[in-house]
């Protein structure tokens, strides 16, 4: 049924339709509305049978989910930002034990400085923790991904993280098509655990593994996660058949087939990007967009296929590796190795900084008019004046060496240019 809902509520209802048996959560903005709604559904009995644990921390939340899942219950939790980091140890444990937990991450920046607004620093920091990572572009997408996530997780016996942009999606009220319980039940069979703690067939789970077998265990984890690259398109296909809506699969392309310039991004910013693509197409620019829905496992082939034809690829990402640069960018380069494509890493939207059509157009213009160098980290919409002042101040510090000097040179040149893009 189509209704005008807040994203958090829509996701909560979708999760409830998946009949989780144990939910353990700890409040953190902007995830709160999701778990509040779920606790309501459990209290009213609309979601039953289900145990809702109000735990003392995100670490406890993920741990309780691990216990519940190991005991054969379908387990769910949600978090964001610092909360995801506080779970980090347990995240690796859940994936290492192969427990099919599903978690919503309402993406939010990581401090210091503390910041409650949206970016992807949290999810990106855990990209290698062994969880499958799916990124939602809209609330409808988030709803659809959650339904698929449970099936994916349980078919592979691996945990899945569904990432949706904090506030931008979680707090956005927009029309959402919610599936019926019958549809979901037909699509998602009851949880049949690979292994379960049961006195009738006791096992020891979580043994200590030494050098003699650890590498093999880890390789098997990798092999298992890679299976998702085949499974996700299947599930996404059967989802379309079951629900009459296409779902994104691993990657989604928009007017990219014949595009010279393709913007690659994850999550809700893709909508705005598509608006800009349409505008530029209207002005005769051959621009397109590619959205990565599944970032882990990394769909190398699909991304290579989607970008092969382009001359320029702009990777717009809401996080970066301090001291290196783009994270998604590095991954995209891997897919493009051997192809003569210029890749532009642009960090945007950190800590909730709005990404607008105007700033996007400026960025693309900078690329097209070669004001930006490929393979050079750029920051969208950065206040260079402020940064310059601060860097000048610290450059008085005798310790500033050649790298600091380079950055200062950067600024000198940038300061001349009219816009906020870097070079």
């Amino acid at each position: 049924m189509r209704s005008q809902l807040e994203g958090s509520l829509a996701v909560a209802k979708a999760v409830a339709l998946c009949r989780p048996e144990v939910i353990s959560a700890y409040p953190i903005s902007p995830q709160t509305h999701i778990v509040e709604a779920l606790s309501d559904l459990v209290r009213t009995g609309e979601l039953a049978p289900c145990e809702y644990l109000m735990v003392e921390s995100e670490f406890g939340a993920m741990s309780a989910a691990i216990g519940a899942s190991a005991a054969g219950a379908r387990a769910y939790t949600a978090t964001a930002s610092q909360g995801l980091l506080y779970m980090a140890e347990a995240l690796y444990n859940a994936s290492g034990l192969g427990l099919p937990i599903v978690m919503t991450v309402a993406n939010r920046a990581i401090g210091a400085p503390i910041n409650i607004w949206n970016d992807h620093s949290d999810a990106m920091s855990q990209r290698d923790c062994g969880w499958i990572q799916l990124y939602a572009e809209s609330n409808q997408h988030a709803v659809d991904l959650h339904v698929q996530a449970f099936r994916l997780a349980e078919e592979l016996s691996l945990p899945v993280m569904v990432c949706m942009d904090g506030f931008v999606l979680t707090h956005a009220i927009e029309p959402v098509e919610l599936p019926t319980q019958e549809q979901v039940d037909a699509f998602l069979p009851p949880f049949d655990p690979r292994q379960v703690l049961d006195p009738d067939d006791p096992v020891t789970i979580g043994a200590m593994v030494g050098p003699e077998a650890f590498a093999e265990v880890k390789y098997l984890m990798h092999a298992k996660q890679m299976q998702a690259l085949d499974l996700i398109p299947d599930i996404s296909g059967s989802f379309s058949q079951a629900f009459g809506r296409t779902s994104s699969g691993l990657v989604r392309t928009y007017r990219s087939a014949d595009a010279d310039t393709i913007v690659v991004a994850l999550g809700s910013v893709l909508g705005t990007i598509e608006e800009v693509v349409d505008e530029l197409r209207g002005e005769g620019e051959r621009v397109g967009a590619v959205g990565i829905t599944c970032f882990r496992p990394y769909p190398l082939e699909e991304i290579r296929a989607a970008l092969r034809g382009a001359r320029r690829v702009i990777v717009l990402e809401k996080a970066f590796a301090v001291g290196l640069g783009g994270i998604v960018g590095q991954n995209v380069r891997l897919a493009l190795s051997g192809h003569a494509v210029s890749v532009y890493d642009t960090v945007a939207g950190l800590g909730g900084r709005p990404i607008t059509r105007r700033t996007l157009r400026t960025l693309i213009a900078d690329v097209l008019e070669e004001r930006l160098e490929p393979d050079r980290l750029a920051f969208l919409d950065l206040d260079w004046k402020l940064v310059e002042r601060e860097l000048q101040r610290v450059s008085a510090d005798p310790r500033s060496g050649p790298h600091a000097e380079n950055i200062l040179r950067d600024i000198g040149s940038v300061a001349a240019s009219a816009h906020g893009g870097a070079r």
Partner: protein, 194 residues
């Protein structure tokens, strides 16, 4: 696509106002999207919320930078920086105040707008009278419907009833109705004088 930006303070129902607008639009089979620009929510802190609706699906996620309509729920915000950012000559401006526009000290800015698209409504008074609380949002939405005619009063009241239970809904609907009627009268005056 019609875009509305609402300014107010925490506790004045700014976010709810945006939500109600989006629901009203949804009820008119439009595609609509409402979302807040949150600070860490505290009563009294400046809050901005947005609503855009359209006959086409909405993909855009940017905050509303060039609103078709600006609603100011709290006149004490008038002199804060870039309250009017992106407001163009064709934009609607709806202010919650019991005073006259002249008394607001923004005459220079108002001069750049069309007189028939600017309206001051004593929404808080309507709210006090009908809701019993100084919550101006429903009243402002009634006035909004009259001022812009972008959404019908029926849709607005339906959205209110959809959101609030019985008596609270009645009060807010009454406030919306009163503000709407007030707005219709002022609009007509303006048109007559024009």
């Amino acid at each position: 696509m019609f875009q509305v930006r609402i300014h107010g303070r925490g506790g004045q129902g700014v976010v709810t106002a945006a939500e109600l607008l989006s629901v009203a639009a949804f009820l008119e089979d439009k595609h609509s999207q409402a979302f807040p620009m949150f600070g860490s929510e505290r009563t009294g802190a400046p809050v901005v919320a947005f609503c855009r609706f359209s006959d086409q699906p909405i993909r855009l996620r940017e905050p509303i930078v060039d609103p078709d309509a600006l609603i100011v729920q709290d006149p004490t915000l008038l002199h804060q920086v870039d309250l009017f950012a992106g407001v163009g000559p064709e934009s609607y401006l709806l202010l919650n105040t019991s005073r006259s526009l002249d008394e607001l000290g923004i005459g220079e800015f108002l001069g750049t707008l069309r007189a028939d698209r600017v309206l001051a409504v004593p929404a808080t008074e309507f709210a006090r009278e009908h809701v019993g609380k100084p919550l101006p949002n429903a009243a402002l939405l009634g006035a909004f419907s009259a001022l812009t005619q972008a959404l019908s009063l029926d849709s607005v009241t339906a959205a209110i009833r959809d959101r609030f239970p019985g008596r609270i809904a009645d009060g807010n609907v009454a406030a919306a109705q009163a503000a709407h009627d007030f707005a219709v009268v002022r609009r007509d005056e303006v048109i007559v004088h024009a």
